[in-house]
């Protein structure tokens, strides 16, 4: 009995070890490689802090993002300077509104737009590009021509019409941004797919009768992840800046709410006079974008299936 019990235990132990090894070989492996990349890890921590600050920051000040400090308004260049006494840690904007709170509140919008926008672009762009590239032939032609049409479309009119039909809503920012940002992604993914689909393992899968959908999702896309991640982290800054441009045209966030892009474009007009109005939101934007870059590189390295 003892013997069999020992044997069973030994087998169970072994079984446990086996599952452990299998686990590590997939995602744990990626995690391990990611964690060993210091720049990426630090970036992730900083991004976490920024996101947290954007959420709780507004509660750390006596001012709200829409309050006008009528006293500071009388002399922005002096009374609007960053100071702890007045409670304006980052100073005020030209209307005497607190830059600290507005930077935090703007961060919520910008991060949301950046991350959600990129996510939409990645999903649509990757699926579209991979499908087009893999199926090839006539389907590819039509899909690519459709992309060309969308790419040349007068974006401004799209924005204006969205605005008049649906009124102004923050959701529309995502629609407008999402609508154009997946195009480049789709083209890049399609290009990569074209060179991937001639690889032996894809041909092997095809010969085994694996369905096209499965080949795309199981074999093509995982091999595209590297380039997708790199491009996605490029998208985040693009999105944040695009949002500021849309705001500038009157479709973006509506005052008194703001975004980093909107704060920066306002601050750019007064950089000789009140540098803090530009400097603070720009610092946060730069920090965020650098972090996304290093994070993107870290993820790319970690997810690279060839990198062992």
């Amino acid at each position: 009995m003892m013997l069999t019990k020992d044997k069973i235990e030994a087998v169970e132990d072994f079984a446990q070890q086996v599952t452990e090894i299998e686990g590590r070989s997939l995602w744990q492996d990626a995690r391990r490689r990611f964690l060993s990349n210091h720049a990426a890890v630090i970036s992730l921590i900083i991004l976490g802090i920024i996101a947290l600050l954007a959420l709780v920051g507004p509660f750390l000040s006596v001012w709200s993002y829409e309050d006008i400090d009528w006293e500071a308004l009388s002399d922005i260049e002096n009374l609007g300077r960053p100071s702890f006494e007045s409670g304006h840690y980052f100073g005020t904007d030209v209307l005497g509104r607190d830059i600290f709170v507005r930077t935090m509140q703007g961060g919520q919008i910008s991060l949301l737009v950046g991350i959600l926008g990129s996510f939409v672009a990645i999903v649509i762009g990757t699926l579209y590009g991979a499908t087009s590239g893999y199926l090839g032939g006539r389907v590819d032609s039509i899909m690519m021509r459709a992309l060309e049409i969308l790419n040349s479309f007068p974006f401004m009119f799209f924005v204006i019409i969205l605005m008049t039909i649906f009124g102004r809503h923050i959701f529309l920012i995502f629609v407008a941004i999402g609508a154009i940002s997946w195009l480049d992604m789709a083209r890049i993914v399609r290009g990569q797919t074209l060179s991937l689909k001639n690889k032996e393992y894809i041909e092997a899968a095809h010969a085994c009768g694996v369905s096209s959908f499965k080949i795309i999702t199981r074999h093509i896309i995982p091999n595209l992840l590297g380039i997708v991640v790199v491009y996605a982290t490029l998208l985040v800054p693009g999105m944040i800046l695009l949002e500021s441009f849309i705001s500038f045209l009157g479709l973006g966030v509506q005052e008194p709410m703001t975004s980093w892009g909107a704060l920066i474009s306002e601050g750019a007009g007064t950089m000789e006079l009140a540098i803090w109005q530009l400097a603070w939101p720009l610092t946060f934007l730069i920090l965020t974008l650098f972090c996304f870059n290093f994070l993107g590189d870290g993820l790319r390295d970690a997810l690279d299936p060839k990198d062992r």
Binding site: I68, W70, L73, M163, F248, L249, G250, E255, G269, E272
Partner: protein
Amino acid sequence: MNLKKTLLASALMSLALGAVQTQAADVPAGVKLADVQELVRGGGAEPATLDPQKVEGTPGSHRTRELFEGLYNLDGDGNLTPGVATSYTTNSDNTVYTFNLRKDAKWSNGESVTAHDFVFGFQRAVDPVTASAYAWYVEIPSIVNASKIINGKADVKSLGVKAVDDYTFEVTLERPVPYFVKMTSHQTLFPAPRKVIEKYGSEWVKPGNMVSNGAYKLDSWIVNEKMEMVRNDQYWNNEKTVIDKVTFLPLENDSADLKRYEAGEIDITWNLPSDHFKRLKKESPDEVIITPQLGTYYYQFNTKVEPYNNPDVRKALSFAINRDVITKYVTGVGEQPAYTFTPSIVNGFNPETPAYAKMTQKEREAEAKKLLQSAGYDKNNPLTFNLLYNTNDGHKRIAIAIASMWKKTLGVEVTLENQEWKTYLETRKAGDFQVARAGWIGDYNEASTMLDLLTSTHGNNDGKYSNAEYDRLLNEAKTMKNPSINYNKAEEIAINQDMAVAPIYTYVTKRMKKPYVGGYQPNPEDNIYTRDMYIIAH
């Protein structure tokens, strides 16, 4: 058309009698002129066209004023100075004007400017084929058949203009309009070079084709980069013109305009960003030029929707606006708080200070609270509405500040709504708003240019304010010798009593001008002529 004018005839009478000094650069003795007399001006937006009969908007007016000259000009004080015409006479009932043209006026190709060129210019302006956006301008002085021609019901040739001989030009009006002569300083009534226009068609305004009769002629025009004009040697007063070349840079962006000024590439800017006003005033006080302008920035109430059809609500909102804070700190370049619709700088009318303007801001705010309460709104039932404005940084700031004032004193919940320009215009025209930002710059220096806007039939009365007594007063004013009494009554009704709109401030033109540019004459109508200016050695 409701843009009827009633200018003072007295100014015109003096002109017909006495000799008046002509306009030209008047260099004071002892001033040493620079060797290079070239001026670069910030030109605002690129004009839609340079064709005098079609020009619309101030950027176009500024440029055509350099290139062409009409019968008469207006100087800095709004007085007439002779242009191509040296004198004029009228018939007994003041319906036929006969202008005597100077014989030395020449087109830039050396041909004489004749009465036929004026006949052609006037006819072009109303011709439906020209499709000028300013065709209505010829209807205002009621030139015979102008309206019928625009409507396509009469032939262009039937317009009440005639060349008696080469140097005598006759205009027949349907009824006496005393301010007609002043109107001839506007580009719509400039002469047009018939031969050139017939030769080149719409291409005639291109550099190389264009022939002009002003102090300058067009040298080059690269859209959105620059427009260069050079001295017109054929101009009759060429000897008195000092500046040889003027360049207009089309810069819609004020901060780009200012940067190029600071880099020394522009001598006179078009505008200046208000944020920089304080700094510039401190660093170079002599270069900042602020001139009151004939125009009012106001908030418009949609008087056809609840509860803005209630004057009490409108008054409450208007009273709660602290205009001193807006003009001192938000716009902050010397705009005057406005409590009447007509700016006080207007010629021949000094609006009385309405009762609410005499209160202190505290009293106004207390009154506002009372009024709003009586209309049935309080903390538990707050008034909520959308404030519409067009996308622009200045409008945005004013809207934020005023919304905040309303919230603070009245507990009103305002949602800001900005729209891109053309959409905003459409929304306003359709009456699809509650409170909207608006502004109006006068077409001419007389109170009716503002007050007519609030008459029930005016095409731009987007708030649909309507008051029979108001309409009557203004209609009566058109034939009155001294209409000030009526204007004051009208102001009292529309603003102090009904608060059809909430006036906020009086516009100003704000420019930077290099100290070495002399002869610049700021004026409320912003009639600036390069030919009056000169560059001092520096």
